[in-house]
Symmetry: C2
Subunit: 512 residues, 2 copies
């Protein structure tokens, strides 16, 4: 499918040819995940799971540093619990997997069929506010029991009709924080604090710049008073919501009965929050940084930082080359980076150097080092950075490579972030007329829906009607109402659709 | 409930009064877990989950050191997959939670009810051989793709009619390793290697000595050719199966179609293994080490190694005491033990020192340090080891405590192991007559089924009939056929029940 006038690429099609298909091919070529035979559920392969483990570890440290502890609550939620919060059950009803039987038995035809119906059906958790609320109601008696600051690492299920690996799957892995506070102010501060954690994590670990802000009412979590989010722009210029933090007010504490005696002896309902991020982050990283040769992993979350590829053309030099490769690996493993040893892989397989290289290119390993018999004599190694083109191989003394390796990894991490930031800036536009707005979000070639549009910062009259019209016409939604900050200070203007007065610009985009 | 002639204890009843109830009370008083409103499912509270996290971390390191990587497979298994292996589905049929619908909708009475029935019901995984096998069938084409060495950390569901926290719950957390090998010998070696990992882990981290061996046919994992296990003796002298490793032969590779081209160009089925350990390990530790004052946690898995309790009788000394406590904490946190910093908690709550102490006693923290105004002057601290009685408080210079702390923690860990080993030896008996066998396993006071029996090493004729009779008469089963080792070398004799010839003694016990 590659056009003859383009250089060879490892992934077909290229991004500009067919972005969704490019994504599928990168996930497959990088051995990240694959669809399973269970509709909408994916298999996360070791390389993809390794990336998720690194994300987990980093987030877990940040959660604990902000005073949270982990716990675990049941997978199953009685149907009656789900119904306690009316908006909540309505929001999730269409996506609920329901357990109705707890046994199998052979029927008359010798086939196993469900048996022993449950007196009350159980919903497989799509999120855990209601089941966790039932525990919190027992745990909280007095203001002395607050705050409760708990996180859970778990799988959740939301039935998905149009699955896409990592980004939208029926079952996914995530963390969900659930907290209870004495006061509204404290709960609101927690909601914002955890969004800041997600923003920092995205920047420092994923090399992903995000917009932060509040969702409009129509995009809020079902049952929340306020939903905050981080929104990333990936390479087809669409937005991905990569983490959310909800201020739930007293909605769930009322429906679950989380009540406590206040400092002045009154009974009051707790103020709760919840916040989550999921394996969707893995998909975000792939779409954000990958190129036409496959994955590019930010070093901070790469399962392997450096792959060493011994090049062994002749049997008589084989042992010497392998020894040198393993010596180099040992030196590198002795280096700590951000508190843990560098992860080094020596690819000793009896395959051609080119075949091996391309495999690691597709898997996005940050640094590749080739080492052959001639390099032994010269004391040099050939180093290639994955974030630069495949032709940027540099030869340098092995000792120099080792002494500079941390700096190089930091440079790759920074380069990916800077690149993403530039890309986003290039494709973010302040738009003030309806005509320009519609033009921005309309593909220029309808036969081949190429990559187009981006983020539009435009005024809005605050009405749900305008949101619905824009969504119906363009498939564009408000991704967030950005927080007040020097870059996005409130600025009066007129709604880009109706011309009515508006106090601030909001962020519009197509999204996953 | 405590008898007047016994010293006061924090847990009522005591172990000797009512062991099962003592266990429930320890779990509750230590804030480890609690039952949820969902039948058979537990809530693992932060302290209990902290113990599980430490177990996970230690096991994960051991799995990776033996060449395994983590991955993740779907929660749901199509009913038809479960049925591929006949013994397997039969073994699990009575415990399967079944998803039959994927939506909720309002019925005519305004109640939410399950809607959108699935064309094929989905079983919530009770274990993952069949769903993982479907992936492996795709991944394995050639001997070059082998071995596959993968582990999964996951939740599983086995419907439980008589739940008990940690030991037997409908949903539990575990890890399940699933491997495929080229040859039978390699798969058998893997099966044994992973059992050895469990044994080492139990000894070094949990301070739990275990018997290792093979299950008799009637106790095998459904579908396995051979099941190996580790069996621990807890304080009511019953056995707990704390980990299993299965050699699955070609049973699951045949039913899943895991086939590969061999080195000589033939088609062959892979040889598979699976192995697992679960949150049951937490219950094992509680029953193994706890005393009448609550939990005693082995230091290697304690979420907090040392709690510092500032004793602040007068407001004017408060600041000085808190400063000294936090200084001591900082010194201790700078110490690495087995690769990670010591976990120290300073309990600054404005509660009496006694109230605070008893809370940490019940939670089983290995070392408690009290620090009051008088200690500041003398430079001393009061240290109590949880594994020794509450009256063994020692006063020693703070600097001495710090310099010896690692040694002290090692001593506690060793003491718990030695104590468990002695206990097991005391209650393990070689039995050669039917009369003694029946007497050993019969409560002496039927009105109050006190703690009795233990492990019996006795001969067996190898028949299922004898197993069934002993189980029916005494609720006793063969826990394992011990491996040949110096301690349990095969030794000819006569079946303790039938008098028939037997080649070796096997391990009999009541069990959880």
């Amino acid at each position: 499918m590659a056009k003859p006038d383009l250089p060879k690429s490892a992934i077909n099609p290229r991004r500009e040819e067919d972005f969704p298909e490019w994504y599928q091919q990168v996930v497959r070529a990088g051995e990240m995940a694959e669809p399973s035979d269970v509709r909408g559920c994916m298999v996360i392969k070791p390389w993809g799971y390794g990336v998720w483990e690194n994300m987990q570890r980093a987030l877990d440290v940040m959660f604990k540093a902000t005073g949270h502890r982990n716990a675990y609550f049941p997978l199953f939620i009685p149907l009656s619990y789900m119904q306690k919060e009316a908006e909540h059950v309505e929001g999730f009803a269409k996506e609920c997997a329901v357990v109705t039987h707890h046994r199998l038995e052979l029927n008359a035809e010798g086939k196993m069929v469900p048996a022993s119906p449950l007196s009350e059906p159980l919903v497989v958790r799509p999120t855990s506010e209601t089941i966790i609320g039932a525990s919190y109601a027992k745990w909280v008696q007095s203001y002395r029991d607050l705050p409760i600051l708990i996180n859970q690492w778990a799988n959740v299920v939301r039935w998905e009709m149009r699955p896409r690996l990592f980004l939208r799957t029926t079952e996914f892995l995530w963390q969900e924080g659930h907290t209870v506070h004495e006061s509204e102010a404290e709960a609101r501060a927690e909601t914002r604090q955890m969004l800041d954690v997600y923003e920092t994590f995205a920047r420092d670990f994923l090399a992903v710049p995000v917009y932060t802000g509040e969702k409009s009412e129509s995009e809020r979590f079902p049952g929340a008073v306020q939903t905050l989010c981080i929104e990333a722009m990936v390479q087809d210029r669409k937005a991905i919501q990569a983490g959310t933090s909800h201020f739930l007010g007293q909605n769930f504490s009322r429906s679950s009965g989380i009540q406590f005696q206040t400092r002045d002896g009154q009974q009051a309902f707790g103020w709760t929050t919840s916040w989550g991020a999921s394996t969707r982050l893995v998909g975000t990283v792939i779409m954000m940084h990958g190129d036409d040769d496959g994955l590019i992993l930010p070093p901070r979350i790469a399962p392997t930082h450096i792959v060493i590829i011994p090049v062994m053309p002749k049997p008589e030099t084989r042992d010497a080359v392998l020894t040198a490769a393993n010596d180099l690996a040992a030196k590198l493993r002795a280096i700590n980076w951000h508190g843990t040893p560098l992860e080094i892989h020596v690819d000793q397989r009896d395959l051609g150097g080119g075949i091996k290289s391309w495999e690691w290119i597709k898997k996005g390993v940050p640094l590749r080092v080739e080492l052959g018999p001639r390099d032994l004599e010269s004391g040099q190694v050939a180093v290639t950075r994955r974030d630069e083109g495949q032709k940027t191989k540099r030869f340098l003394p092995a000792s120099e490579f080792v002494s500079q390796v941390v700096e190089t990894l930091e440079a790759i991490q920074q380069n990916l972030y800077a690149r993403a930031l530039t890309f986003r800036a290039t494709h973010t536009r302040r738009i003030d007329t309806r005509e320009e707005f519609y033009d921005f979000f309309t593909p220029k070639n309808s036969a081949k829906p190429e990559i187009h549009g981006g983020f539009a910062l435009a005024h809005w009259n605050g009405s749900r009607e305008v949101e619905e019209k824009v969504k119906a016409d363009l498939k564009v939604t408000i991704r967030c109402i950005p927080f007040d900050d020097p870059l996005h200070a409130p600025e009066a203007g007129h709604c880009v659709i109706t011309g009515e007065p508006s106090k601030r610009r909001v962020l519009w985009a197509k999204s996953y």
